[in-house]
């Protein structure tokens, strides 16, 4: 007899067998890519090259090319940095936190979500490096290396330096977690490989993994510990990113709510990006049986929850500003809502607070079109959130004579486009050469969450099941 969940839909549908899983996931890796893949890659490369031209010009001439001035010294650069890092957080949440909570639905999406994390963090890392103006000495400035002008070290009291350690640790640990997860799947591809390139490429990447029970035992232990390490790590990363603002004395930034509020926002935007990517991948690679409506609904529920957390945080900020009695703080928030950047503030409120509430309706959270549309809306909203926090707090200085209005230049826009090109180029290369779904983990849940779970209820005599949960004869067919 097998115990069957009474509430969960099967996570893998379509009567898939273990063999089908291998076939379905390996097929895109082994076959020549479709024309649509080439088209998508070409568009990404065009964005990369066009943005790269502006970025090169920026590096040559200096960051004066951006629309920054002496009042608004940080604008799109740090906005894009926080936005990309935030997007990355969903991958770790899916692979690490959902692993600790034993959520089986993570298995179909964790591979692509982790890939997204790694590429998003690379895009994020572009910004702090470029904004230093002379990035070629950047590595030497930010790392704890002795300075040639004396033994002057980096300042370990600065949140900007904590960020260096947090982001590099986050990137490298995520990369390791992702790679260890990929090893068994590379071994599967290696053992099916029919071309010389695949035999050598996946042979090397699979590290000679053979699926022995002893290796699997240690592998499971390693995965669990990496998940345990990644969970506080991912929370620490966005906490430290929020410290970049919260430890300053700028009104609107100097608040203790920032760490939890940033982490919730990060998960919120990250899940939206996972949905955007997975809804496309699902259709292109025909993964409807692996990424089912159940998965999409789960992710939408997380967006709803984190979106509401973010909404409460926005309101809390206002209440605290009023309650503090500090007039600068009160002005900063009044200015956010009704000042020159009112349009950015209200875009943020609409996209982040109002639009995810639509997911209370089952019809909307189980609709692919609505989900896809709202996932993009949420990402726009989260970009505006960072823009609002950063620019509205800076553009009204303590001296009214230095009050300005920030307008982006072509370099601001095109450098942002560059990171999109980078992200999608990486993602499309990943989707072609790496298995987009974790085959080993999907196979591991097939027995108790696979396509046959309802049929296996036959093994429980129906009269032993409580009346409400009994399976109708038609469902058993």
């Amino acid at each position: 007899m097998q115990v069957v969940s009474q509430v969960r839909e099967p996570l893998i549908t379509g009567g898939k067998t273990y063999k089908d899983v291998t076939e379905d996931i390996c097929r895109p890796v082994e076959q020549a890519p479709p024309k649509s893949w080439f088209a998508a890659l070409t568009i990404s490369l065009i964005l990369l090259v066009a943005g790269g031209a502006f970025l090169g010009d920026l590096l040559w001439n200096g960051i004066g090319r951006w629309g920054l001035n002496k009042t608004v010294q940080w604008a799109w650069d740090i906005t894009n940095f926080v936005w990309w890092v935030g997007i990355g957080h969903a991958g770790t949440l899916i692979s690490a936190i959902l692993l600790l909570f034993r959520q089986k639905w993570r298995t179909s999406i964790n591979r692509a979500a982790e890939a997204m994390t790694i590429f998003a963090v690379i895009c994020a890392a572009v910004w702090p490096i470029v904004h230093m103006g002379r990035p070629w000495v950047g590595a030497y400035w930010v790392l704890p290396l002795p300075n040639t002008f004396g033994s002057l070290w980096v300042n370990f009291n600065s949140p900007l330096l904590w960020d260096v350690f947090a982001i590099t640790t986050y990137f490298t640990v995520s990369l390791l977690f992702w790679f260890i997860g990929l090893v068994p799947d590379f071994a599967t591809i290696r053992d099916r490989a029919v071309t010389k390139f695949q035999r050598i490429f996946y042979g090397i990447l699979s590290l000679g993994f053979d699926g022995s029970a002893k290796t699997w035992m240690h592998y499971e232990s390693v995965a669990l510990i990496l998940a345990g390490l990644s969970t506080p790590l991912v929370l620490s990363v966005h906490t430290i990113v929020s410290f970049d603002f919260a430890t300053s004395v700028i009104p609107g930034w100097h608040t203790t709510i920032f760490p939890p509020y940033f982490v919730a926002g990060a998960i919120f935007s990250g899940f939206a990006m996972v949905l955007t990517l997975m809804l496309i991948t699902r259709v292109v690679y025909k993964l409807e049986d692996y990424i089912t409506m159940e998965h999409i609904e789960m992710m939408n529920i997380i967006i709803l929850v984190t979106g509401s957390v973010v909404g409460i945080a926005y309101v809390t900020e206002f209440v605290i500003a009023w309650y503090s009695g500090v007039e600068y703080e009160q002005y900063a928030f009044a200015n956010r809502m009704g000042g020159q950047y009112w349009w950015a503030y209200w875009s943020m409120m609409t996209c982040n607070v109002i639009s995810p509430q639509l997911f209370y309706f089952k019809k909307i959270r189980t609709s692919i079109v609505a989900t896809f549309f709202l996932s993009i809306v949420v990402n726009i909203g989260m970009w505006f959130e960072r823009f609002v926090i950063i620019v509205t707090s800076l553009h009204r200085d303590y001296l009214p004579s230095s009050w300005v209005y920030f307008t982006p230049t072509a370099w601001d826009i095109m450098c942002y486009v560059f990171t999109f090109g980078l992200f999608f180029t990486f993602f499309f290369l990943f989707a072609k050469f790496f298995p987009v779904v974790n085959m080993a983990e999907v196979k591991a849940i097939m027995k108790d969450s696979g396509p046959n779970v309802y049929k296996s209820r036959k093994t429980i005599p129906n009269d032993l099941v409580p009346e409400g949960d009994r399976v109708k004869e038609t469902e058993l067919a």
Binding site: A440, E441, K443, K447
Partner: protein
């Protein structure tokens, strides 16, 4: 009979049948060389009688190394080698050192354990696996029983495997070269004729 070269291989279709089979075969006094699965099968390691994984211990000590290194680095740099007055704060201010200490703890724990895993499990880019049955990374569980480690004959083992619902069972012999596969030979074989001791024929 030379050891590690002559095996009887049993193919299993289902994880529960496999675990029962492992328990039964071991209770009969037969030593199982290893079981290969396409995915981690829970409780298989208990059935095979493996000791608990030592990865958590490795992770703890690597993490501890990271903590100690991070605290030493920050106190020596900020407090001893080149003290600087920053906002009138103490030279060695422990709360400000917490984030970097935490990050380095995680970094060293993760990478220390990761490489400890690769090294102890003999995983590396130049490792060529010795493959009993290629379906072990696809859809079947493969049990290997070393003939030299057991007193029973090949036929007796096959009968035993079939009695515990193995789908099929056959004898597998490795040549010297297959037993100690070399990466250089693997590369040359792939490049010259596309086929190696551990791969199937090209289509």
């Amino acid at each position: 009979m030379e050891s590690n070269k002559h095996f009887v291989v049993g193919i299993f279709n289902d994880q529960d049948i496999l675990i029962n089979a492992v328990k039964k075969i071991r209770s009969e006094g037969v030593k199982i060389h290893e079981v290969y699965s396409p995915y981690p099968v829970h409780h298989l390691e208990h059935a095979l009688g493996y000791k608990r994984s030592h990865m958590p211990v490795a992770a703890f000590f690597f993490g501890l190394t990271g903590t100690i290194l991070a605290i030493l680095m920050q106190t020596l740099m900020m407090g001893v080698d080149w003290p600087m007055i920053i906002g009138g704060k103490p030279f060695i201010s422990i709360p400000a050192f917490v984030p970097v200490t935490f990050e380095l703890t995680v970094l060293l724990a993760a990478y220390g354990m990761g490489f400890y895993f690769f090294i102890t499990q003999d995983l590396g880019p130049t490792r060529v696996p010795r493959i009993f049955d290629r379906r072990a990374t696809d859809d079947k569980h493969v049990m290997a029983i070393d003939l030299s480690e057991n007193t029973r004959s090949e036929d007796e083992l096959k009968v035993l495997l079939e009695s515990v619902e193995a789908e099929e069972s056959y004898r597998k012999d490795f040549t010297d070269e297959e037993n100690e596969p070399s990466f250089g030979k693997y590369l040359i074989d792939v490049l010259t004729n596309g086929v190696t001791s551990s791969s199937r024929q090209l289509n």
